[in-house]
Symmetry: C2
Subunit: 231 residues, 2 copies
DNA sequence: ACCTGAACACCGTTCAAGT
DNA sequence: ACCTGAACACCGTTCAAGT
């Protein structure tokens, strides 16, 4: 079943235009709104095609006329979310600009409970809307303004991106089960691992802190002053 | 159904010991071997409780006497894999030691096609065997040898961990669909994103390279020379 | 043009009954 | 002590038929 052009635009067909056939019972916009509602109500894990259709009061298979598949739905949802993030005022200095942009993107995604699943979608950046690409643009521009080459800028962006994805994912998967202290070694470590044993009592305290900006500063400073590059 | 102690040890009950009842048809070791086989043969996605039982020629529900649930199975599999990784010779210098340890761990996990799912398991580090904790120990020890405090060492370890997880996950999820160039913006970017447009032709080349060690060096150098710390 | 239920091909997990 | 099939409560997706 091909998703036709009207559907792809998110427009509702104009009945007055002389279109024929059974009238639509829903639209892409309605579906996305219902999905957001369902997530707010019952949590991200409960967002399934079948539940979503039930909530909309339509047949599950009808959704496939408006959305290619589940992954497509999730990517659409993400783009909607990102478009709505206010783009922050960025400082002039390239180094500070990179950090401010990355922190803004991080905070927005980290506040989004379903970010984790979407971030691991295949070819994620490739499916982002224009409205989300300002982050990539901003970081590339700042790195080049700092005096680096095109390929170096891509490498630096990607490295920052890896760190951001990792941080968000690890945190997301520990918030779900707060009982299991976030990536803390579970049992008191044995005597032949003395530093781990010594660190153990402090682990939870550190894990509870938002160390993302600090780590990012270290990473960006390291990247901008690095003298050997892979490209 | 509680998994009893014999099962938890992975030992097969000794019939000669006078135990009574129906004899076991399988063991934890056999299950893990079959799971490895199934993954090698049909791929990680095909590892389901039901398929695994079918391959073993036993009822699906029998598996629950040897393994708590699917996640437990996956964590057991991971620990088995990690225990088998040869622990590398590490250089003396603390900074080089951190990098060598992290690169070794990264390369092992990156070569493991199912790492991605496991890395996002809740409280991942907390479920690691002793045999895997040498990485944590080594990095903590090296950071402290470099002159940092206990909490700083934890912070630094965690930051390195985030970067490693992110890199592995992003790469794993792009290898699956090689068609979608790894995190490349899909369509040629519009004119109001000039740096992205300029970077576009080079993106795939950079994405194809293994930039992990380089990024790691930048991160570690940034972290070790950082003057402000969250803890 | 759009919607639908039936159907396919699966999941993980629980539980009472059986050996 | 261990194994089992039936059952529960779900999935995503396809497709022929209906309006």
């Amino acid at each position: 079943v091909a998703v036709d052009q009207a559907v792809h635009d998110g427009t509702v067909p104009q009945l007055s235009q002389g279109r024929t056939g059974r009238p639509p019972v829903t639209s892409r916009a309605e579906i996305l709104a219902a999905a957001r509602h369902l997530i707010d109500q019952d949590g991200w894990e409960k967002l399934t095609i079948r539940r979503l259709a039930t909530q909309l009061g339509i047949g599950a298979t009808t959704l496939y006329h408006h959305v290619r598949d589940r992954e497509d739905l999730v990517v659409l949802l993400l783009n909607e979310f990102i478009a709505q993030i206010p783009r922050p005022e960025l400082p002039e200095d390239p180094r500070d600009r990179i950090i401010a942009a990355a922190v803004a993107a991080h905070d927005a995604l980290a506040a989004w409970p379903w970010a984790a699943e979407v971030l691991t979608t295949d070819g994620f950046i490739g499916r982002l809307d224009e409205s989300a690409l300002w982050l990539v643009e901003e970081i590339l521009a700042s790195v080049i303004a700092h005096g680096h080459t095109q390929p170096q800028a891509i490498y630096i962006f990607r490295t920052i991106w890896y760190y951001m994805v990792g941080e968000i994912l690890v945190r997301a998967h520990s918030r779900r089960h707060p009982a299991a202290l976030e990536t803390t070694p579970a049992n008191f470590p044995p005597a032949h691992l003395p530093h781990l044993a010594a660190a153990f009592p402090h682990w939870a305290t550190i894990a509870a802190q938002n160390t993302y900006p600090n780590g990012l500063r270290a990473l960006v400073d390291g990247l901008l002053t690095q003298t050997t590059f892979p490209p």
